[in-house]
């Protein structure tokens, strides 16, 4: 999977499923402080990532991902694309 596809999938579900405004989706946006993702939302992200990418991620790890760019990097690494 190409990085731009990963970015599109992540941005789409943040907009469609977590109902985050598109204009807030900047690379340096902090997931918690800027995007307002809370502990329950991270639980939902685990489910969505499994559904969209077919991989299981740990809630503890994803909760510690600071920014949107770091989230893309994390999924890219997990899906095995460098």
């Amino acid at each position: 999977m190409k990085r731009e596809d990963i970015i599109t999938i992540i941005n789409d579900f943040l907009i469609d499923e977590l109902e985050i405004d598109r204009e807030k989706l900047q690379d340096d946006a902090n997931l918690k402080n800027d995007l307002g993702i809370d502990s329950l939302d991270f639980v939902d992200i685990v489910v969505i990532v499994e559904h969209k990418f077919g991989i299981k991620i740990s809630p503890e790890e994803i909760t510690n991902v600071p920014t949107l760019k770091a989230f893309y990097d994390y999924i890219e690494r997990k899906t095995g694309v460098q």
């Binding site: 977590l18 109902e19 809370d38 329950l40 939302d41 639980v43 939902d44 685990v46 489910v47 499994e50 299981k56 809630p59």
Partner: protein, 408 residues
């Protein structure tokens, strides 16, 4: 000193209407909300009959977190509560600064539980249930969500008492206010209607199988009745201390004057004439009135052979001498189970406000017990000052409420 308890807001979302106006029209016209859901046959039900309740669209009304945590019946409860609070002229600012309690009847959240179980079976990982499953699955799902959505700060709990759940919820709300523990309590009931929720009732042949005539299938007190029809939705009422209501300039719709309860202490599914009679007599005593003062009885009668018979025996014993008008609105709505106690108070308040008795539709041929009652077959103009509403449930739980027209 006991305080007066009044009703200052009502809201309804049911198979016969999604708001008070639609429901009033249906009650007046004797319109049935029953239909068939063919998927029930494929799933394995004996009866495909059900009350047809449209799911509300909540996107735009509630933000995501609050929305996804609602079970099916929680969605209905939210809609009914919006209407009740609007009628009571209570807004977000008021709730931020004042204390309101919430007591709702709810006795299952089967769809949420079964769907979560199915996911874990398939995925072998509870982490893949998502965040909302727990808030939808618990029996207190309705009150936990309403209290969060509306920022309620008073008593907060769910009453589970089978098909008398929400009648007891109103009774308990009445006691909390009467005894000075709360000034405002949101009371009500909610009932899921999905096919996952009612299979165990179908398993004991509770439901009518008159599938070729859905709107004629619910026929409380009729000799040819063959079972109840599951239905649902939600009903919300705002109970308030009388002085508190006057002080804030609220419109008073009616007054709760009596609550009676009992337990049959007998069989799981068999009702009892003596148990229901005790609950009614206790409500009459609590109201400080005589049986002859009651102008209308909204019967529990669900269209089952035994239930209707035992209630008819008890009604005849207490009210036979006065020929008190009786109808079961379940003839139109089907059995709204956990919600029925609250919804039937709202249906009866609509009748009280508009001076009519809604018909017990499909009552064509009495049996030996119902023949002794004054069952209202067609919409009848009548002034109602005081009504009684019965609710009985599995395990022998009984509740009776008496409501009076507001008279300063």
């Amino acid at each position: 000193m006991k305080r007066r308890v009044v009703i200052t807001g009502t809201g309804i979302y049911s198979s016969i209407g999604k708001n008070l106006n639609e429901v009033k029209q249906s009650l007046y016209e004797g319109r049935s909300g029953i239909g068939v859901e063919p998927e029930r046959k494929t799933y394995g039900y004996r009866s495909t009959l059900t009350g047809i309740v449209e799911r509300p669209v909540l996107k735009g009304l509630l933000d995501r977190r609050l929305r996804i945590s609602l079970s099916e019946q929680g969605e209905y409860a939210y809609m009914a509560t919006l209407e009740a609070l609007k009628n009571a002229q209570i807004d977000k600012d008021y709730l931020e600064n004042n204390e309101m309690g919430v007591l709702f009847g709810n006795d299952s959240s089967a769809k949420a539980v079964i769907e979560a179980h199915t996911t874990v079976l398939e995925k072998k990982d509870t982490m893949l249930l998502g965040s909302e499953a727990v808030f939808r699955s618990m029996n207190s799902t309705v009150t936990m969500n309403l209290a969060t959505i509306f920022k309620l700060k008073g008593i907060n709990m769910t009453i589970s008492a089978a098909c008398a759940s929400s009648s007891h919820a109103i009774g308990l709300g009445y006691i909390f206010i009467r005894d000075g523990l709360q000034d405002l309590v949101l009371c009500g009931g909610a009932q899921e209607t999905n096919l996952l929720s009612m299979s165990s009732f179908d398993a004991i042949s509770t439901f009518s199988v008159r599938m070729d005539e859905p709107t004629k299938a619910s026929r409380p007190f009729d000799a040819s009745r063959d079972g109840l029809i599951p239905s649902g939705g939600a009903a919300s009422l705002l109970l308030e201390d009388y002085e508190h209501a006057v002080k804030r300039g609220a419109t008073i719709l009616a007054e709760v004057v009596g609550y009676g309860f009992s337990s049959n202490g007998a069989k799981l599914s068999q009702p009892s004439d003596t148990g229901s009679e005790t609950a009614m007599a206790r409500a009459i005593h609590d109201a400080g009135i005589d049986a002859k003062d009651i102008d209308y009885i909204n019967a529990h009668a669900t269209s089952t052979l035994q239930g209707d018979m035992f209630e008819a025996i008890a009604l005849n014993k207490l009210f036979g001498a006065y020929k008190t008008p009786v109808s079961s609105t379940k003839s139109m709505t089907g059995h709204e189970c956990w919600m029925a106690g609250a919804s039937e108070i709202i249906y009866s308040i609509i009748m009280l406000q508009n001076s009519f008795i809604a018909p017990n539709i499909n009552f064509e041929q009495p049996d030996e017990y119902s023949a002794k009652l004054n069952i209202i077959k067609t919409t009848t103009k009548k002034n109602i000052d005081i009504f009684l509403s019965n609710s009985f449930g599995f395990g022998g739980t009984n509740s009776a409420l008496i409501i009076k027209k507001y008279n300063p």
